[in-house]
């Protein structure tokens, strides 16, 4: 309005480090910092938890069933007297692993599709963007359910009940969530492709692959990191939803969603059984989302849907 353009203050302070600047902006988002800390604790808990809390996940003790939290069972027990804390530590490993793996799948596919669409000006680019839009309008959960319904027996035979369903869930969740990343990467390509330094590299005879790897992808990194972070949360929700509907991991695998599914018919006598795993999912997801928000502030990425 009044042409009040300000020079970047950090440029004036002399020493300029992009990472320090990023951290400075991230640390201004208090909730994001708290979330990062919480998530770190959660990850540590599920990674080293089993070495400290040495209670078996499937010791059945009907007499001690449906107990609320106590010293012997900090999170209480389920209807069969199994220790909920131990089961949650186990389930947390699966949930986090699914989240991370599915994010990697979606970022990989998204980057690939986005890069191809961004580089080709012709029919391929248009076709890929049409495909991206098509996937965006697919009803994800019904399709997820359909795919698992159709493919789970086949994969179970090849990779075993737990491994098969893990691969399937990761591939399907990742395969249905790559579109935002593809759009971001493509947008970055279109805007960066014309910039001077890429022109310069092209003039110097850099091959297209080299241009992409050395010049364009590092610039697209910020938005992709943010989208990837949020993808982890979305994948955790998707996996928990499947387990909650009784269509995810096998019944004896205590993922957080599965624990909720088992607990939902006992809400009147054992609310703790549902509250702990539900709370764990919520805390994980909200923490990841806040971290994503903090990263958005820090990396200053423009939002693209």
């Amino acid at each position: 309005m009044a042409g009040l353009t300000l020079a970047s203050p950090s440029a004036e302070r002399g020493v300029y480090s992009p990472w320090r600047e990023t951290w400075r902006r991230f640390s201004r988002h208090k909730l994001a910092v708290v979330s990062a800390f919480l998530l770190l604790i959660l990850i540590l808990a599920v990674v080293i938890g089993p070495f400290i809390w040495r209670v078996s996940i499937n010791d059945i003790d009907i007499v001690a069933g449906m107990q609320g939290p106590s010293l012997a069972h900090p999170f209480g027990t389920d209807d069969l007297g199994q220790d909920i804390l131990a089961r949650m530590i186990y389930g947390g490993r699966i949930s986090l692993a699914v989240g991370l793996a599915a994010m990697l799948v979606s970022v990989f596919i998204g980057t690939l599709v986005g890069a191809l669409a961004g580089m080709s000006r012709g029919a391929l680019g248009h076709g890929l963007m049409w495909l991206t839009d098509l996937f965006l309008s697919l009803p994800q959960l019904p399709l997820l359910l359909l795919l698992i319904y159709l493919f789970r027996d086949g994969l179970k035979q090849v990779f075993g009940p737990e491994g098969g369903i893990f691969i399937l869930i990761v591939l399907v969740i990742g395969g249905l969530r790559w579109m935002p990343v593809a759009r971001l990467v493509r947008a970055q390509f279109l805007s960066i492709r014309e910039k001077e330094f890429v022109e310069a590299a092209r003039a110097l005879g850099a091959s297209p692959v080299r241009q992409v790897v050395k010049h364009i992808l590092p610039n697209a990194l910020g938005p992709v990191i943010i989208a990837g972070t949020i993808d982890v949360a979305a994948a955790i929700i998707a996996e928990s939803t499947l387990s909650f509907l009784g269509l995810g991991f096998p019944p004896d695998t205590p993922t957080w969603g599965r624990l909720l599914y088992d607990a939902k018919d006992f809400l009147d006598i054992g609310p703790h059984w549902a509250l702990f795993p539900g709370g764990a999912i919520f805390i994980t997801v909200v923490a990841i989302n806040f971290i994503g928000d903090g990263l958005r502030d820090a990396l200053d990425a423009r939002r693209v849907i």
């Binding site: 309005m1 009044a2 042409g3 009040l4 300000l6 203050p9």
Partner: protein
């Protein structure tokens, strides 16, 4: 007769992450009834913020009027609330903005946008408002006004949109029109048409015009009096003829020398001069004269003491130490 608008010691500040930005820092401007006053200066010198402060159209927060009075027809506008100012906006003081492409709401017809001002301030029916709107569009020479009134802004060219903006600003026949770089975004040929139209309207309605511009050519063509601003302060003020004939502040001199002249033949042509450097950032500005770092004549005193605006001839004021020295020398010579 009391002036129409008197701005006294206006300070408008913005709080930013890096400190207080003193966009306008002690500005005095007076506008008389029926006159055209030009405010000139580079981008970022505070002219737009000054104009926007009059009707509190700056974003608050982060903006804030830190000090000063804005007296319009004997009434100070600074302490008024936004609701109270609404009675003055458009009704008493009309605004024309710089960017005709973005200053009109894309989802409302131009007719609705002009009429809503009439319906707000004057007791008219929908039908009367429409008639007045068409009348205004005819006045600003929009062909087929009866049909065009129902068109959306994107169906108009830039020049036509600026005519619509003028019609909108004039609809309630205000006593003062503030035009913020009304021609900057337009083609050169259209610029002249819009300036002519503005001049016509001013004569027809007898209102005062505060024209903000960075183009000295526009100043020469339209102004009666000129205020030169630099870095949030007024550095010189004079009648238009006096200013062009005898510019006293080095910054004004620089501005005038940067006008291309086609009236001189090639022998008399001089190189076009640019003023080196750019407007400083107004966060914790240095003491002394703000123009000193770019001034060819800068002396030691310029970085130590701030020059004050003072009268150097009837109706001619400026703020530069150079005058003191010259006057001092002259005094010495006389003695």
């Amino acid at each position: 007769m009391a002036p129409l608008l008197e701005i006294k010691g206006l300070k408008t500040h913005f709080s930013t992450d890096d400190g207080i930005l003193q966009a306008v820092d002690g500005v005095d401007i007076t506008i008389n009834r029926g006159e055209t006053l030009c405010v000139v200066g580079e981008s970022g010198c505070g002219k737009t913020v000054t104009a926007m402060s009059i009707l509190k159209l700056i974003a608050m927060p982060p903006g804030r009027i830190a000090a000063g009075e804005i007296i319009f027809e004997g009434r100070d506008l600074v302490p008024l609330t936004s609701n109270q100012l609404d009675e003055i906006r458009a009704k008493e003081i009309g605004f024309i903005f710089q960017e005709p492409m973005t200053s009109l709401n894309p989802v409302l017809t131009v007719g609705e946008q002009i009429a809503e001002s009439l319906r707000r301030h004057e007791n008219v029916t929908r039908k009367q408002a429409l008639e007045r709107t068409i009348e205004m569009l005819k006045l600003v020479q929009i062909p087929n006004a009866e049909g065009r009134v129902h068109n959306y802004p994107h169906q108009f060219s830039g020049g036509m949109r600026q005519r619509v903006m003028i019609a909108m600003a004039l609809a309630c026949k205000p006593k003062l029109i503030i035009a913020d770089e009304p021609t900057t975004a337009l083609d050169v040929t259209i610029q002249a048409q819009i300036l002519d139209l503005l001049q016509d309207m001013k004569e027809r309605f007898g209102m005062a015009v505060m024209l903000i511009t960075h183009a000295m050519g526009v100043v020469a063509e339209t102004a009666q009096r000129v205020v030169v601003m630099y870095a949030g302060k007024v550095v010189e003020e004079a009648d238009v003829d006096a200013l062009f004939a005898d510019p006293r502040h080095p910054y004004t001199q620089g501005l005038i020398r940067s006008i291309p002249r086609i009236d001189l033949d090639s022998e008399h042509k001089t190189r076009l001069e640019a003023i080196g450097g750019s407007v400083p950032i107004l966060i914790n500005p240095p003491v002394g004269c703000r123009f000193a770092p770019r001034c060819k004549f800068a002396m030691d005193v310029c970085t130590e003491k701030e020059p004050l605006l003072r009268q150097i001839a009837p109706g001619h004021r400026m703020a530069c130490h150079l005058g003191d020295v010259q006057l001092g020398d002259a005094a010495g010579a006389l003695a």
